[in-house]
Symmetry: C2
Amino acid sequence: MTAMTTPPTGFSEQDSAAVVVESLRATPDDRLRALLTSLVEHLHAFVKDVEPTHGEWEQAVGFLTEVGKTCDDTRQEFVLLSDVLGVSMLVDAINNRRSSRATDTTVLGPFHMVESPRRALGDTISLDGNGEPCVLAGRVRSADGTPLPGASVDVWQANGAGFYDVQQPDLQPERNLRGLFTTDDHGCYRLRTVVPRYYPIPDDGPVGRLLAATARHPNRPAHIHVIAEAEGHASLTTHVFVEGSPYLESDTVFGVKESLIRPVTVVDDPIRAAYHGVENPFRLLEFDIVLDPLAGAGR
Amino acid sequence: MTAMTTPPTGFSEQDSAAVVVESLRATPDDRLRALLTSLVEHLHAFVKDVEPTHGEWEQAVGFLTEVGKTCDDTRQEFVLLSDVLGVSMLVDAINNRRSSRATDTTVLGPFHMVESPRRALGDTISLDGNGEPCVLAGRVRSADGTPLPGASVDVWQANGAGFYDVQQPDLQPERNLRGLFTTDDHGCYRLRTVVPRYYPIPDDGPVGRLLAATARHPNRPAHIHVIAEAEGHASLTTHVFVEGSPYLESDTVFGVKESLIRPVTVVDDPIRAAYHGVENPFRLLEFDIVLDPLAGAGR
């Protein structure tokens, strides 16, 4: 038998990451090279840390394959996986380091898949009227307290049974519980809706099985999604969570921030009821929003 | 607005991994908890290291989804991804720490998907006769040098054009270039085949695009796969690589080990040619194999 005089690649358990990183040397895009280099280093460190058997590695390959195959036009199982591992919230945190005054952000979630219909202030977004009626109202301000007229407030939520319209195309009207509003001259928005309920993320796929295997429940506490935007300000993606909802302490996607929890109060005030176009007394969820001005936006 | 007295989950950029690890606390299976805990710690460290934008995160989700969707009965794109990132070879190295005498291991690869047909020593595995004829022969021994009669030697390879039978069901006979042999009384095996060619891994999918984006070629140097097994010994999965093949220095799956490279020699010896049942002169690839005895197997 013969021996080569030059070692070909030098792959070994000790220097595995370095060998693979070296193979990425000629990547033309600097950012891609940096991303992949870090990925390889952390991935190899993980593998060396846990020392998977061949069987465990095959199980991991099979799991990821099934996650991919579970994705379709209305379901993104890799987003769910990212959510339940806290990665989505971490990416959100990294991309939303803001002033202490601005409203906290949280994850977009997978259900903002259709455009919210434009609606007038005071309109209802509950097209089927199913659920406990509730008013959602608040004011959008800049970090210095200035109200922001003409700001857009995009809201979407699950119904009183815990389902989004896109999950129940046969049971809910199209675009149920979605609306795009514009704040008035005082920066205020108001709309009629129903109290949302906590709900499980889709748990009949591989991510649901992962949660079951880790003794975790699949639930998110009751919340309404909000995207607020105003000229010269950073866009804000967040939720308002309903105080007292189950699972506020254990949101399966780690989305809860204390600063985003608000009570649904019962208001007994005929004048305010008339202003909102509802019967007295009525349920009210108030959620004020503070946006950070963009650097160099001239405020 | 009201404030809760107890912070709900405490998720923040700083302690994100700790919060997610805490949620895995009640996982009944200790090994699964250890695997996921390490995964979360390394994954969050990676995200903090590279600070992906939302767009980059979406691209990653989209890439993994496409990898999953590319998998089918005859193609495992996540195995390819693991291969080109050096993870498969690392898992192989971790699971095959053996004595310095034993033959080096390398990856199984994705093409051992059908059972090799049992064949007699000296049989050909080239059912269509296409390619440059070649004899593959060697002896299987234990680490102390004892020959191992009755050992099984499972071989499979690409043809002279670089394709496995399962990749060309319309062009190659079923089970072409696959065979399961048993060593003779002297621990020897021998078979007739054709010289394999280097070939690209399937590169028309997302992994192929990843290779292109990193300026890497998709090729593996010419090799024949071998699984050798003998009673009382650790099973060995490896390749014999053809000396002088292109890409020995840059195997896209990092599978080459210098100790596994062998020359195809031309032998001019009528007696040996007759022994192998081939015309003189003939091409010969010799590959001896050394297996480690299992601990406590009583050798």
